[in-house]
Amino acid sequence: MFYREAGQFKASYQADQQIFPIRQDRVAVWALIVFFAAVVPVIADQYWLKAILIPVLIFSLAALGLNILTGYAGQLSLGSAAFMAVGAFGAYNFMLRIDGMPFLLALVMGGLCAAAVGVLFGLPSLRIKGFYLAVATLAAQFFIVWALVKFPWFSNYSSSGVISTQEISILGFVFDGPTSKYMLTLAVVVVLALAAKNMVRSSTGRAWMAVRDMDVAAEVIGIRPMRTKLIAFAVSSFYCGVAGALYAYTYLGTVEPEGFNLDLSFKILFMIIIGGTGSIMGSFLGAAFIVLLPILLDNFVPSLLGDLVSSSFVSNFQLIVFGGMIIFFLIVEPHGLARLWQIGKEKLRLWPFPH
């Protein structure tokens, strides 16, 4: 309805290969970025920033990471949280042990640690596929959390592995309030999302999707499945690692290895299922959905039903809703909210026609 594509022709391949080839989309995306970068910090209160926006952004990044692996490269992982943990503890140790370590570099190093571990646990994908591989990633999940607890060096010998993050300071500016932390998180997430989009639209991304869709054919046209999968593991884990570091530094401030448990991994998996596998935007939609749903349930179910329900009912209700949503989406719309968005957009582009 709002699209006016007539006359938006492409006279060069650069123009044709833009991320948002339609002018109206570009305008909308810029408007969105400006809104979240300039308007939100002014109007949002502490609660919104701390409890909603920052976690949504961080989980979007983690979901993005998993989506690269699962949605694009077709390798299911149940260990995302563990890779987040590696990123968090990696960044923490770089900050701790190297004097004058710049925060952003520590973030990258944390991500790289996660990437390295990710490659290690991705090695079985050489031989195994599907849920065999998923089970292999469970090994990563359990092993990493165990290792972080059992080797106190990682947490600088604090009790049961709990770490408290250092102050974030970039070029002398200290990020201590929720607003500045939000801005930092937003910047990192936007940059990495852009990089992810660039990867998936280049030959790397095509190789991922080729291996996902038909690995024998991919191999025959000269794509090395092994290398491609390991790159996917590395990139995916890097994203999860950076997300984990942000989780520790800009969201919670204090984390313990057990916080990165299997439940968190499942949560991230749910984000991409509900948001949409194989879609960058789906990662954001899914993260927002999964973060916001419990808040909505917590706030609205009791107020709707009053004293009739106990708090345990609400938490069980959450489980039911999550489980139900997953099944619902897998059955009805396996490509998740992103596909629904896509369909809606197509409808708008074709409006008033139905097809």
């Binding site: 309805m1 007539a6 938006q8 044709d16 008033p352 139905p354």
Partner: protein, 658 residues
């Protein structure tokens, strides 16, 4: 804008197309002159690039021995390099002759012989093969130059060359004799023949219409001034190059105004390409607009009821006030608000999907356009207008001015054109855009131009009180019924064809007691209608014979009768009997011209038994017809056709029925 004004100054030296082209290359070298969708993007050629390429082709042709006054055949789809070849030919003082690219080899042979073609620039292997097929009949054909190399590697004949090669030769030639081409261009004069366009001719062999540079430049300049076209316009070139309209819009006007022409990727992507380009200036024959509207309506059938409701509600609003708003007439604020909302919800998106968002001026011509159809586009804000003209007048006689659109007229005489009516109602025109002569046909030239230098259009019409011209019919087709009342077959046929279910109609009545009609149903529209009703059918012939379809068509014809009854001059022409033909009228069978006009006399001869049955009062008639399929095979279609009577209205009863 400023530039086009400058060119329009009288007495300027820009009196030939080559000079116009070189001027654009100087004045706006970097502006896009042409775009072609190729390899997935719109490959763009600036005026400077076009000029350079045209130079190369021209010099290459010269190197091959092309001389002043030689004719160059150009055959193919709308490809930049074919337009360049036309321009290159003009640079050398030659005469380009464009042929309809879908014609079979034998049809081409006549034109090639008539124009004594020595050089042909053709699009691809398919056209080269046609040239080879008729080579013996056109021994003077010396060079065949192809644009697309695909499949050409095994053609070893020395007279076949690639345009690349010719251009390369030309570039060397141009380097060695850099003043050669400028000299050739300087030799040109406005009064030289710039192009020869063959009229498709409803009767007899095609004739080559010779038009001078001055004629086409005047027509183009008049048109650009009339509609204030600038060098920022975009036009989609998709109609055959051999057709006068394409030459005027895509070549002459672009050369005069300096705007951009856009060539679609292929025939099947025209609609997508139209949508991508979103032209600001657009031409299409009525059937294109009609097909678009039919598709719009069919696609809307599947929409949810909410959408349909919104759609129809706002179309109603548009019908009420859209055209008036477009014409700048006073409209109430409430209607304006509603129309604005409609623009947001319906017209805007609709125009967007149709690729018409940016249209400033759109023209239609070539056949009469249905009033509902015409109104529809105007009401949603597409500035669709009609024009009137012939090949002999550079498709330029009358134009509808902005803000003064009448549905049944073709507008006022265009700038520089003088129009008057003969005693028998025939339209006579005079002006710089008139043909110089028919090629090698002084007899025909003399026949078409009268003593005072007026061109006799062969159309009958009259001026209304505002000076707008109305066309009734071909002057020679206008006949009389036995009761001496006027019989204007085209006029009636057009009224019938305005119904979306009817694709073609042929009426008979001259020297008869009453009027009868052959109908071709529109397979897509009727097919859809039948599907919605749950009717099964196996093809055109089967569908056309069904009772329900007959009923549907009879309703349409009754409406036409009611309409005719309301006009005193026409009430005698109401249709009494009709039948639905068992096959679609087809140009390949000679029933239509290449421009899809019905050849009434041919059809009357071919289906004489049916005509007799219509007048003989028979309830049905058996017919068997030879047909030619697309792949050249021949076959037979036979059917037992029903003939039905239609209600007619007494002139005074018309009001109640309508």
């Amino acid at each position: 804008m400023a530039d086009s004004r400058a060119q329009a100054a009288p007495g300027t030296e820009l009196d030939t197309f080559p000079r116009l082209l070189m001027n654009h290359a100087r004045v706006r070298p970097a502006r896009p002159a042409m775009r072609e969708k190729e390899y997935g993007i719109w490959q763009t050629y600036s005026w400077a690039q076009v000029a350079e390429n045209v130079r190369a082709i021209a010099c290459g042709l010269a190197e091959l021995g092309f001389k002043r006054g030689d004719r160059l055949a150009v055959i193919g789809d709308n490809r930049p390099r074919l337009y360049w070849s036309v321009a290159a030919c003009q640079c050398l003082g030659g005469i380009p002759v464009m042929l309809y690219q879908d014609a079979v080899a034998q049809e081409m042979a006549y034109v090639l012989q008539d124009a004594e073609i020595r050089f042909a620039v053709v699009e691809d292997q398919e056209q080269v093969d046609k040239m080879l097929e008729i080579r013996d009949e056109v021994p003077f054909l010396e060079h065949v130059i192809y644009d697309d190399e695909r499949g050409m590697r095994h053609y070893t004949q020395t007279f076949i060359k690639g345009l690349d090669e010719v251009q390369e030769m030309g570039r060397i030639h141009d380097r060695n004799q850099s003043d050669f081409l400028d000299g050739e261009i300087a030799k040109g004069a406005g009064d030289d023949i710039s192009v020869m366009l063959y009229t498709s001719g409803t009767t007899g062999k095609p004739k080559g219409v010779c038009q001078t540079h001055t004629a086409f430049i005047s027509a183009a300049r008049g048109g650009t001034e009339f509609d204030r076209l600038t060098d920022r316009e975009d036009i989609l070139s998709y109609l055959p190059m051999a057709w006068v309209g394409d030459h005027l819009f895509s070549f002459a006007q672009a050369m005069v105004a300096g705007f951009t022409i856009n060539c679609p990727e292929s025939g099947e992507t025209v609609m997508t390409d139209l949508r991508e380009i979103g032209p600001t200036y657009y031409f299409a024959p009525p059937r294109v607009f009609e097909n678009l509207l039919t598709q719009v309506m069919i696609r809307m059938e599947d929409a949810s009821w909410i959408k349909r409701t919104i759609f129809h509600k706002y179309l109603e609003v548009a019908r009420r006030c859209g055209a008036d708003i477009l014409d700048g007439k006073p409209v109430s604020a409430g209607d304006r608000l509603q129309y604005w909302l409609g623009g947001l919800l319906v017209y805007g998106p609709l125009k967007n999907v149709l690729g018409m968002s940016r249209i400033r001026v759109a023209y239609t011509a070539g056949a009469a356009i249905g009033p509902d159809l015409f109104k529809f586009y105007r009401s949603i804000g597409v500035n669709l207008k009609q024009l009137y003209g012939q090949t002999e007048t550079c498709a330029y006689v009358c134009l509808q001015p902005d803000g003064q659109i009448k549905l049944d007229s073709v507008g006022v005489p265009a700038p520089y054109v003088e129009v008057k009516l003969a005693d028998n109602g025939e339209i006579l025109v005079k002006g710089p855009m008139l043909l110089k002569a028919y090629y090698k046909r002084p007899d025909a030239t003399a026949e078409s131009l009268n003593a005072e230098g007026y061109f006799m259009t062969g159309d009958a019409g009259f001026f209304d009180e505002d000076g707008h011209l109305l066309i009734i019919d071909r002057a020679k087709d206008v006949g009389k019924l036995n009761d001496e009342s006027m019989f204007a077959p085209n006029f009636i046929e057009n009224k019938i064809k305005f119904f979306q279910f009817i694709k073609e109609a042929v009426v008979f009545g001259n020297q008869r007691d009453f009027v009868t009609a052959f109908i071709n149903i529109d397979l897509e529209a009727v097919g859809n209608w039948a599907e919605r009703k749950g009717m099964a059918y196996s093809g055109y012939t089967d569908l056309a014979g069904q009772d329900a379809v007959y009923e549907l068509i009879r309703d349409c014809i009754e409406k036409v009768n009611a309409d005719l009854a309301s006009d005193a001059r026409m009430s005698g022409s109401q249709i009494k009997r009709f039948l639905i033909l068992h096959k679609e009228l087809d140009a390949d069978d000679g029933e239509l011209t290449r421009t899809r006009k019905v050849r009434r006399n041919f059809i009357a001869d071919r289906y004489a038994v049916l005509v007799d049955a219509l007048y003989g009062g028979k309830p049905s008639c058996y017919i068997e017809t030879q047909v030619k399929y697309e792949d050249g095979r021949e076959g037979k279609i036979s059917a037992d056709l029903r003939i039905e009577d239609v209600k007619t209205f007494a002139p005074q009863a018309a009001k109640q029925a309508a």
